[in-house]
Structure formats: C-alpha cells, structure tokens
Symmetry: C2
Subunit: 446 residues, 2 copies
C-alpha cells in the first residue's frame, strides 16, 4: 500500500495537518432524536473542514424526504404509518446513494449523513452500504435531556425549517413535539451491542463525550472538533479596530494608534453593541495585542455591563514581514515580484519573513476552537484576521476570503442557526478611509 500524502505549495506554505488526508473517506452518521442539534453539528463540521481546505458535504435526509412530502404532519413519522415508513426509507436510500456517488465521483473526503438514524437496524444498514464502498463510518450521537435546550431547538426548527414554513408557530411547535414523541417510541441509543462501531456520543452539549474505537488521524480531528462544540444559542460580533493613523497614511502592519475618527468609533461601539445584545446576555470582548484594537475596545470593557476582556496574540494582524510599515506602492516598487505573486495567489502568498493567509488560518484554529467552546463573544481585530474568521462562519471559499471587503467602523453580528448563519451589519456612521485593495491596485485608498 502506497499512500501519497499531500502538502500544498511547498515553498510558500506551512503544512497543515488536516491536508494529510487524501486517501481517507469518512461518512459521519448523525444519530439522535429531533431537536438535538444534529443539523447544526453537521453544518458546523462541513464548514470547519472546508475552512481547512478539506472536501466535505452534508446529506440531509429530510431534504430528500421533502421532495415527495414537503410538509408532513407528526403522523407521517409514526412507525405504524406504512406509507410514511416507505417514503422515509426511500429518502434515506436516495441520500446514501448520492453520498456514495459523491465519494466516488467528486473525491469526497468527509460526508455527513444528517438524519435521526435512530434504530440499530438503520445504523447497520448504513454501515453495510459504506463498508461495501470502502468508506469508514463514524457515528455521532447527540443525546440531550435538558428540557431548556430541546425547547430552544424546537423554537429554532419551527421558525426556520421548511417543514413548517408559513404555518402557525404554536401549531408547528405542537406538531413538532408530537413528531419527537413518535421518534422516541423507537429510538435506540448507541450501546454495548454496537461497540464494534466507531462512535462519539455527545451527552448534554459536550458536558460528557464518549469516544469509541477511533481509527485514524482525520477521525480523531473531527472528534476533537466535536468535543469542543456546544449547541446553545449565541452570537459572535466582529469588528475591525477603529481607523488608525497607518490606515490614513495607507501603510500596512505596524502598531499605530487609532485616528480621531477611530476614537469616535471606539466611543460609539458600546451603544452599537448594546443595541444588538439581549438585556440578559453575557458578553466577552476579545482583542489582539496591538494598540489599535485595545484602544477601540476600551470603552466596551469599561461599560457598566463590565464585559470580560481577553487579549490574544493569535488575533494580531497578518504579519507582513519585510513589508511591515510600507504602502502598497512601496511594496510594488521594492518587491515587484512579491507584489505580483501575492495578487496571483493571495491565500497562499507568504510575506518574506512574515505570514500568508494560510498561516493565519493555522494560528486561528485555536481561536475557532475557543469560539466553539464559548457563548457570546465580540472580537475586535484586524482586516486579514477578520476575513479568516468571517470565512469560517459564512463558509466563504478560501481563495475568495482574502479579497472580501470588510469596511472599517462596521459591526458584524453572526448568529449560527440550524440551517445557516445569520448576518447583520451595523454601520457606525463615522467616516473612515477604505483599506480595501482590488487586485493589481497600489492606490493608497480605494
């Protein structure tokens, strides 16, 4: 057996561990009653892997079922309903067939089968299909009896699921509870009979995690990520620092103070945040260790709410090495080849003695893990770092993320939902230069 393991673009990047996965094919099989955060977990795993440049895709059995049965009532999920049973099995069959096709035709690495897979028989059936196609299986059971969390998931589903679109919310919630009851009648948790399976049980939102028979490196990475997840509702706020003196001069890097207008943004930030935080929500402020983010966040930390504050070196701006403190025009003059190389492949280009976006993603991984462990967080950081974090939450392809426009003096609120991440932007209404640079441009400001 010869296994080629890939490291990308040798001279310009540091190897990332997760890229060593070429030959692996893993089907992550979700297990759990409705309203246990399965779809949220599935979506997160896909997003995390894509962010690390690993090919990943979720197959949601509900979506296949909706093709024939767009808005079923709870009765449809009663195992005594033979028509329902037949249609539900057909949907699972179609999803699994598409998943296997994706592995074979599109060089898929990690697929997530997002469904209840609530019986031992169903789980065996999925395993047989995967075994026959040389696909490893990793079962992920989300088990939770905390009424509060289940309720919050029910509220989420009834407002966001296409199954209940346009329906009376109260009736939807009631029907959904009946659907859960129908599943409870037949639900079998993963137990001793299944100890030959590779599985993870996430009990009460990661409070306890049971991991069984993990086989290889990529499985252990996925499990490590799952260990850090929780399914409590929360939001992440992102802001760049207020306009800095370097921004005014068109210089990159450095450790400049914020400008007069930057200071105005810093003062406006507490109200901007307060308008988008619920009255009882706790919030923690993260900044980099550079002056411009600390200055921008200082009124937040001093607000009557008394938010906790954390400074992270890992949130410092992309290190531009020998180009630190230069304008784009100076870089183009002094290092013309580098300037072009960066435009050609901005994600992988590493500044001499500095970093690439790919390097920044590597150093942000602990930040992402810590964010996954946390609840409400506001991050005041820098353009490149914010792009990488935003790309993670909004599933932006890595070749696009370095070119995204993220204006100064704008607060971005991201709220992970079961089926998407909701984004709201709050403009500070305080003017600032644009530091966005289009490909090829050396303009001081856009």
């Amino acid at each position: 057996m010869i296994k080629q393991i890939t490291r990308r673009a040798r001279s310009s990047t540091t190897t990332y561990s997760m890229s060593n996965v070429e030959d692996t094919r893993i089907a992550v099989i979700m297990v759990g009653l409705p309203a246990r955060g399965k779809s949220l977990i599935a979506q997160k795993v896909v997003r995390y892997l894509a962010w690390l440049s690993i090919s990943a895709k979720a197959f949601n059995v509900g979506s296949y079922r909706r093709a024939d049965t767009p808005q079923p009532t709870a009765d449809f999920f009663d195992t005594k309903n033979t028509d329902g049973e037949r249609l539900r099995h057909a949907a699972a069959e179609a999803a699994v067939a598409d998943m296997i096709k994706w592995f074979n035709n599109d060089h898929g690495v990690v697929a997530i089968l997002d469904a209840t897979n609530s019986t031992k028989a169903r789980r065996r059936w999925v395993k047989q299909r995967c075994d026959a196609n040389n696909i490893e299986t990793l079962y992920v059971e989300s088990k939770c009896d905390q009424e509060e969390l289940i309720m919050s998931n029910i509220m989420e589903v009834k407002t966001t699921s296409p199954d209940y679109k346009g329906q009376d919310p109260e009736a939807a919630a009631k029907d959904f509870r009946n659907r859960i009851r129908n599943y409870e009648k037949v639900y079998q948790t993963i137990d001793e009979d299944e100890k030959d399976l590779t599985y993870v049980k996430l009990i009460d939102v990661g409070g306890q995690v049971i991991i069984n028979q993990i086989k290889d490196y990529l499985q252990s990475r996925v499990v490590y990520y799952l260990m850090n997840l929780h399914i409590k509702p929360r939001s992440i706020w992102l802001s760049r620092h207020g306009e800095s003196n370097f921004n005014l001069e068109g210089k990159i890097g450095g450790d400049a103070n914020i400008s007069v207008r930057g200071e105005m943004y810093a003062k406006a930030l507490p109200d901007l945040v307060a308008s988008s935080v619920g009255p009882d929500q706790k919030l923690t402020v993260w900044t980099s260790t550079l002056k411009r983010t600390i200055q921008t966040a200082r009124f937040l930390a001093a607000s009557p709410k008394g938010y906790d504050k954390l400074e992270w070196k890992a949130l410092d701006e992309l290190d531009s090495g020998v180009c630190d403190g230069l304008t784009y025009q100076e870089i183009a003059d002094r290092y013309p080849e580098d300037f072009r190389a960066r435009d050609d492949d901005k994600y992988n280009y590493r500044y001499r003695g500095g970093e690439s976006y790919r390097d920044v993603v590597i150093r942000l991984e602990p930040i992402i893990m810590e964010l996954e462990r946390s609840e409400n967080i506001i991050i005041v950081t820098h353009q490149a770092v914010l792009r990488c974090i935003y790309a993670y939450y909004m599933n932006v392809p890595q070749e696009q993320s370095p070119w995204m426009e993220v204006p100064l003096h704008t607060l971005i609120k991201l709220t992970p939902r079961a089926y998407s991440t909701e984004e709201v932007r709050f403009k500070g209404n305080i003017p600032a230069v644009s530091t966005f640079r289009t490909k090829g441009s050396t303009a001081k400001h856009q």
Copy 2:
C-alpha cells in the same frame, strides 16, 4: 480580567496554538491500578508538551515514597498496614506540595501527579489542594482489564522499577501482583458521584475514551493527545536517507538521487532492520516524498516481510526557501545576515520563503499523533526532520535539537519504556560524508 496570550518571536515564527497558555495552570491527576501504564502516559504528556515549548513536569509519588521506603513488599500497600498508610500519605503530601511550589515559583503550566489516586477521598483531597491554589484539575484514569497488557506492564515494571532493582524477577513479578491485589481491594473507578470533576477515562488502551466537563483549550489539547495514545509495547526506527549527491557536493535541500554509497546503505538497510525486529513484529515504513528517502527505503518495502509503506509530504526536509540548492559557503556569501541570524537562533530562524525548525515541529505534530496511534514504524527521512522527531522521543530541549549530530548510514531504534526511552544505534558500516555543521562553520563537510 485581562489575559495576555503570548505568541513567540513574531516576525520569524508561525504561532503555535499550544503557546497560547500563559495563564493556565493544570494539574493532571493520574488515576488507576498499578501496571495500567500511568507512568508511561505521564512521561509522554510531559515530553509532548515540552516539545511544544510548554512548561510541564511530572511528580511521581512513588519516587517520594522511595526516599523512606526504597524497596517495599506488597504488604506495605495493604490499607490495613497503618505504617504503610502513613508513609504513603506523607509521600503524596510531599509530591503535591512540591507540585504547588513548582506552579507558583517556576511558572509551571501543566503538572502530572503520577500516582494511583485510587480512592474518591484521595481525589477530593488533591482537588481541594489544587482549588486552594487556583490550579485546574484534570483526572486521567487508565482502566484496563486486558490480561495481556497488564502482564506486559508487570514485566516492564519488574525489570525497570527501582522498587525491584537487583531482585529475582520471578519473586518481583509475584510481589508486584500482590501489590496490585492490595490496591484492588480499595480501588474506586471514577463514577457518577464525581461528575463535577473534569476527567478522562481511557478504557482498554484508548479503545474507548470518556471525557467529562473539559474546561478550556489546553485541557482539550491534552485530552486530544491522550485519546491518541496506546500503551502497547513497540519501537520506532529512525534513519536518514542514504548519502545523496547533494550531500557529496555540500548542498542543502533539493531532490537529488542517492550516491553509490547511499545505494549501498539502501541495500544494507533490510538486514540492519531485520536484526533489530522481533520475528513476529509487523512493521510499517514511512518516507518523505523526496527521491532520496524513497530510494533508500525501496529494498525494505520489497523485502520478503513485505512491510507496508507510506509516503508523507510532512516528512520532507526543512524547506530552505531561497537557499535551496546552495552550499553553506554560498549562503554565508549571499545572505550573510541570514546566515548569522540562523546561527544565533537556529530553532526559530525561518529561511526566506522557507521554514524554521519551529515550523517543522508544527507540521510534524500530525506525524507525532499518528506515531502515537501506531505500533512499529521505521521512518526514513531527513536531517532536520529526524532531529525534531528524535527530540520528541528523547526529550531534547528545542534550542539544542537543531545542533544534534545525526550521522548518515545509521539506524536508530527507540523503544519507549515506562520510565525512559531506550535508544540503540546500528551503524551501517558504509562510509558517508558528514553533513553536520558546527556553529559558524561554512565547511563543505565536517
């Protein structure tokens, strides 16, 4: 709360996740009957963290107990033996006191309390001591009922433990079994009563892992490492590729073929390996993706033993960027500042457009994890990469590791033991140039 989180030597290194730990203090409390691999686990965690430049230290209660009772018989461990009980508690007290002193005076980050801690009362007592000193506790229980593994640990202990030094092996093994029986009488596994504790249960050598209430990032990293461990006996063989044409010319980097003498080493390697592998031992060969390692390992892979073979990009030589293909003299001439900077801090120096040793350690982390998951492995790789892997196993400080001499045409066999890693070197007796360079030297060969 302001928490400063450190990233090292900003312009010359990529941040490593594990360096973001300045304020964390974690006591890892081992739990388990004798012969469950606790000391091996403790030693490995310390070594892994040190390799990642995290301050870590193990406190072995047995060593404290030996100060008063160097070679106790099994009776000493009988709870009815009040003298034994008193002395054993005094040893635990001394170890915990030293551990707390280490956190406070030496800025310790992770301590391992290596003892049986086999009762709930003892575990509570340790927790109270740690709580009072703002030290987080992470209990790690090794639970194993596989007779074969326990026996192999008993054999290990009776031959390596100072408790049985100079004693008849049979008598030692018998006494040690009686000691285990005395512990079994009072042993309490971590259970529901202790669900407020942060703990990891490693059941049957990582076959199943139960993780409870992990609190922060560093805890989750330690747990991730523990998940990947096994305590089965095995060895790691390390070899550089056979002498290459670039070695002859004194050039670094590149992708040259092996020389005539390199070819002789490649042919000699299967016998060299065979002489140090047991008859029934399975072995897997890892190489980099560069020609000189693949050529060197090709007779191994083709041997009648039919070893499995894996090529890893992550095992490629340290990328010397713009200096790739140059001699040291050419580097000193063209990049005199860089040449000096590298000598000043070889571990952190990153070649322009290339890598530092620190970068290599980062990209080797998945290799280390995969090695921990594996059994017998022979790695044919490159000077810098071998230094980093060797440093991990032999606990070499990172500032020294880039200066270690690792001659060509030499096979190194490393065997992790409970109390140390055993090293044996096999000389190929085939001449080769020396590629070792002392500080300041630009000599083509030593």
